[in-house]
């Protein structure tokens, strides 16, 4: 249940066995089935999820009912609406299981006790937030500055293997194009 998290933590920080045993006591083990929600829009996001197994995706919805995919998260990735998590404002996002998933959830009110108990986790979380910021900025720049085809190529280069698990219409939504445009791009670049 904790092997992926342990591997991930140890990539970034040094933890004794005793420290990792203490870390485990702050995480909620939670199974989520495909199509179930970790968060629904208008609720405050009070939990960050580490994906041990499976996949999640976050999205907003338009007035017409279409979805705008914001982010995917696969094994060993983190998922949350950090904006809502830190401001405690209601989220505009849904976080849904793309596949049957096993998560480890860290609740907002457990964050400070965890950091006080195992200070090395401060470093880990700083790296986590840095990565989240970098990913957000990259996504913003790609959305503003690149053509759909360039965005697709970047995306495939970065996460192509994982995206075999994602339906085409969700990839199209993530890239901000219609499924027809995505299909055309795929033909052009193949």
């Amino acid at each position: 249940m904790f092997s992926e998290l342990e591997k991930n933590l140890r990539q970034h920080i040094t933890l004794t066995t005793d420290e990792f045993d203490r870390v485990k006591r702050y995480f909620v083990p939670k199974k989520l089935r495909r199509k179930q929600f970790m968060l629904e829009a208008s609720d405050v996001c009070t939990r960050m999820a580490f994906v041990s197994k499976g996949a999640l995706f976050s999205y907003s919805t338009s007035e017409k009912g279409s979805i705008n995919v914001v982010q995917f998260a696969f094994e060993s990735w983190w998922m949350a609406d950090l904006y809502s998590f830190f401001t405690e404002e209601p989220s505009k996002l849904y976080i849904e299981a793309l596949e049957d998933s096993e998560l480890l959830l860290l609740k907002a009110d457990r964050l400070q006790p965890l950091l006080a108990d195992v200070p090395a986790m401060e470093t880990y979380l700083r790296i986590l937030y840095q990565n989240a910021y970098v990913a957000l900025q990259r996504r913003l720049e790609e959305t503003i500055g690149l053509t759909a085809e360039q965005r697709y190529l970047r995306f495939m280069e970065r996460d192509g293997r994982l995206l075999l698990r994602v339906p085409q219409h969700m990839i199209a939504s993530y890239l901000g194009v219609t499924p027809e445009t995505l299909s055309r791009i795929r033909k052009q670049v193949s």
Partner: protein, 220 residues
């Protein structure tokens, strides 16, 4: 809150477990039912769908899986069975709410089997140190979940626990079931709550209340 909570009821084929399940099924939560008697479990599922055709309810094969998938676990097994179930679910209820409904009475209903300075809820907390144990539903008879108003008055349903947020969540749950929640205090108050029910059972038998009785605090 809009995001559905998943509530596992371990021991859902017992009197209390099935009454709680039916009462919860009126809400929008997802219910996972675990009970050792398959036929009863199937009947319960059918009853729930009759009460609420849109109820999100599923029978699940073992307490471990039910607890892993749940956000809240209701332990509706007899006190004598609690330790074994707790051992089974312990790794899967870290930082989750576990509701203790038990009244740890002896066979002759004239005392408790728990240590004099403890309670079923406190003993459960010792077995599940990383869970947020909350005492609830122990002063409500099974029949009163369907009829929470007794002699024209909604009976009180006392809630006790050490984690403020967990107590708040359980209080909201109790309210959603049509019961009148009263936050009684920290988990140690469970000792009093369990003894209140011991007395109520003794008086129910003595005065023939027909298992429709409850506690009510009268106040201005």
């Amino acid at each position: 809150m809009k995001t559905k909570s998943t509530i596992a009821i371990i021991g859902s084929t017992g009197n209390m477990g099935s009454a709680i399940a039916k009462s919860l099924a009126k809400g929008s939560n997802r219910l996972l039912l675990f009970g050792r008697e398959d036929t009863k479990l199937q009947t319960l599922k059918n009853d729930i769908h009759t009460l609420n055709s849109g109820a999100d309810v599923e029978a699940i094969g073992c307490p471990k899986d039910a607890s892993w998938e749940a956000d809240i676990v209701i332990l509706a097994v007899p006190y004598a069975a609690e330790a074994a179930v707790a051992e089974e679910i312990r790794p899967y209820v870290t930082q989750k709410i576990v509701i203790s409904i038990a009244n740890p009475m002896n066979e002759t209903f004239d005392g408790m089997v728990t240590p004099a300075d403890s309670s079923a809820a406190q003993e459960l907390q010792k077995l599940l140190p990383d869970a947020q144990v909350v005492k609830a539903f122990n002063t409500t008879y099974a029949a009163n979940f369907a009829e929470p108003v007794i002699a024209g008055v909604p009976a009180d349903a006392y809630v006790a626990g050490d984690d403020e947020k967990a107590v708040q969540t359980v209080t909201e749950l109790v309210q959603s079931m049509g019961l009148n929640p009263v936050v009684a205090g920290g988990l140690a108050v469970s000792h009093t709550l369990e003894h209140m029910q011991l007395l109520l059972i003794q008086l129910t038998v003595k005065n023939n209340y027909n298992w429709h009785a409850g506690w009510k605090i009268l106040h201005n």
